[in-house]
Symmetry: C2
Subunit: 304 residues, 2 copies
């Protein structure tokens, strides 16, 4: 894994802070993963910094060839000023995150929402290569999304873009379902890993097992997964009608069990919008965020 | 209207080709309207060119100060190559539109979808001033939209972005409602000037009269308009959740009668998405498209 050649390259660190795990990766500018470690998450900045320093010390590379570190945050981030606005799951609010890290490292730090880094990762090494218009939908514990249009991430005016969790339909409104900050959104309550887990519980099945039973044509499970497919397909179709992306990428933890669903999703979406697009599962899976986070260090390096 | 001072300025021509009328405007680079004329529409290119030439001849300006002409097209346009891809309402398909016009004029020609020019117009002189993230929704005979994100129009991979006409809900799918090219979309069939006109017919009222009766609290009309408000508000709320724009602008012919509805729409949207935005009716109304079309001539001029 470690050879002399690496010392001639530049390296970027990508950190993906999740609700349960932190993924730390060191990559070279050719797209090779030099180091990869997953540790239990922490909301303590000093602890996170120590974890990263330990990781760096494990790798036999020339430290002066590290060109930067990107950190993906599971919440709202002012990426321009380097502020974390809020991350309810980790209890973070209004933190000068970038400068807190810069004090401890000799290279530039970049921060962004984690899902935004995922689509950047897919665009670098995954299913979004050379594409300027991508819709990335992340289905995990919750649901989220990231949008690249005209070759640039859409972060939105308050850095809140991509919140498909809040999508709703007339039926939801008439039934009194509402969206509130720091709670699961209306769409998310119907369609997420958590929603599937809850439905599975009634049948003594995990979310993953639901997909396996669907594949086996289990008559109790089929309508549950068909509803899931329809809900996801409607959201994808509507975003395709609105943004006309070249490509739709489905990522996030749940997507890793969705191979048996993708053809049905493609077929359903094609019936719901007359616009063509290309729908694929994420190529990089759970690594997309850390890969994307490391990649921005090279882009900025190249710009210099 | 015409004075000597104008000769010191540069002028841009904005043409908005609609399904029933063509609006021709000549503006100076300070945002003043020098000339404005509306004529019956034509799908004959030679005829349109003659109409424009006649308009130019009516204005006492130095022709060498005309820096370009922008033409808004009610259909799908490859704005980069200057091709009209398709305009079903005018029977146009795969036309080298830009070069057909360039043969007859000595200044650069720009073409784009008409709704995209409307939001560009609002951003220059209307309610989108100095804003980089705008969602513009146009309610007229049909419905359409235009998106500015990161300061740039999102045209989409096939130049089809903004097609909210095709938005649909689970209820639509379960009822067998489908979207097909060259037909009104599922959302559009429920919510557009045409949809309102049809509902009004049953009561012997025009679309405009429906709004007047709503204001008078006519008990038969109130539920029709409340449904209209809800439908529009759901689409706005969903786009706000997805794109987090600074501003939402409601334009198009029908919007001109919507003053009595805007407060209710603002209130409804605020209940459907937890994200803040600013919702306003178009300031420029039906002139937005031609104003936007003329403005791009100045932008390109300045870039040189």
């Amino acid at each position: 894994m470690i050879d002399k050649q690496h010392n001639q390259l530049s390296f970027g660190i990508g950190v993906d802070i999740g609700g349960t795990k932190i993924l730390i990766m060191i990559m070279d500018n050719q797209g090779n993963i030099i180091f990869r470690e997953k540790v239990k998450t922490s909301n303590n900045i000093k602890e996170i910094i120590e974890i990263i320093k330990t990781c760096i010390s494990k790798v036999n590379i020339d430290l002066k060839n590290i060109v930067g570190m990107g950190i993906g945050i599971p919440g709202r981030v002012d990426s321009q000023r380097g502020f974390v606005i809020e991350v309810p799951s980790l209890g973070w609010e209004n933190m000068k995150f970038k400068s807190m890290f810069e004090e401890h490292f000799n290279f530039p730090i970049y921060i962004k929402n984690d899902v935004n880094y995922s689509v950047i990762g897919e665009r670098w090494l995954g299913n979004g290569k050379n594409k300027d218009d991508i819709f990335y939908i992340s289905i995990g514990t919750g649901v989220g999304s990231a949008i690249i249009a005209n070759g640039k991430i859409i972060e939105g005016y308050h850095f809140s873009a991509g919140e498909i969790a809040y999508l709703l339909e007339k039926e939801d409104v008439k039934s009194g379902r509402q969206n509130t900050f720091n709670d699961f959104g209306v769409f998310e309550k119907k369609t997420s890993g958590t929603a599937l887990t809850e439905q599975g519980k009634k049948l003594n099945l995990t979310a993953k097992e639901l997909f396996i039973e669907y594949k086996k044509n289990n008559p109790v499970v089929v309508p549950i997964i068909e509803e899931f497919i329809l809900e996801i397909s409607i959201v994808i179709a509507n975003v395709v009608s609105l943004l006309n992306p070249e490509s739709v990428i489905i990522g996030g933890g749940v997507s890793e069990s969705m191979k048996c669903l993708i053809d049905k999703i493609i077929d359903t979406v094609s019936k719901l919008t007359p616009m063509n697009t290309n729908i694929e599962l994420s190529k990089l899976g759970g690594d997309a965020g850390a890969i994307g986070a490391s990649s921005v260090t090279f882009q900025n390096f190249r710009k210099k």
